[in-house]
Symmetry: C2
Subunit: 173 residues, 2 copies
Amino acid sequence: MERIIIDMDEVMADTMGAMFEWYAKNYGLPLDYSKMKGSWMLGIPDEHKDIVRQRLYSEGFFRHLPVMDGCIDVMDELNKKYEVFIVSAATEFPNSLRDKLEWLNEHFPFLSWRQLVLCGDKRMIAGDYMIDDHVRNLVHFKGKPYLYSTIMNKDDTGYERISNWQEVAEKLL
Amino acid sequence: MERIIIDMDEVMADTMGAMFEWYAKNYGLPLDYSKMKGSWMLGIPDEHKDIVRQRLYSEGFFRHLPVMDGCIDVMDELNKKYEVFIVSAATEFPNSLRDKLEWLNEHFPFLSWRQLVLCGDKRMIAGDYMIDDHVRNLVHFKGKPYLYSTIMNKDDTGYERISNWQEVAEKLL
């Protein structure tokens, strides 16, 4: 069985969307999307960066993220065809760890704790396919990489792109 | 720089020792070490297995484990010579995740959150050397495996053994 490595934030979970919704409700200020190359944090006004960062570190933020459209059904099928591992850069955020495990258990009951990897760097991860929204995670990967498109990576080149879970199904099922 | 993958429980942390000390204090019963092949849980009397399992799942247990003798100094040197990743099978125990990160931060301040990997299965981990006390984790590894000796693996064969951190230094520094 071939192994597929799948990222969590911005691929399975709409982390950025949840943060922007919270930000709009609390501050109602426009965000500068043109500055978000590499990290959406760059588009947050300087005077609010600390409060947004605090929210990333808080307990519960990663527990209640929306699931990307179509992700659950396609993941269920991927899980029958591949050895699936969900690999999330999470150790920077101590409170995200249990939240991410519980989020996965809630929305993807067909996946097991054996299939979750919470790390910082992803360079030691080996597999046949990898779907991730950061070039820094794909660049060390020895298998076939797919760049999941987000506002942060829109100018990155050199990788085959996937824009949504319909396309994951078309390319991998 | 070559990459070395190092296990946490029974290699860096004396998890079994901490549990047995707690067990002796609370129950004072002899443990049957001859039954611990593969898992020390097998040596716990049946009537106490549930309470011991509860302790493994509780918040704080993995936060306060003793560090193995000599581990800190040798790790500091390994960290200068190798790309070090600490890879721990932890996702079975949701409350262990933050505890393990904080334990690492406390005792190994020269290691970063980028170097910690919390997973279930370890078959997707790639590197040049791996030190682990479970054959099931070493068996898929493509690099050079070292079996860290514990009471649980004493009958396992086919792997070069390491018995303590003095030997880690002798073999790898």
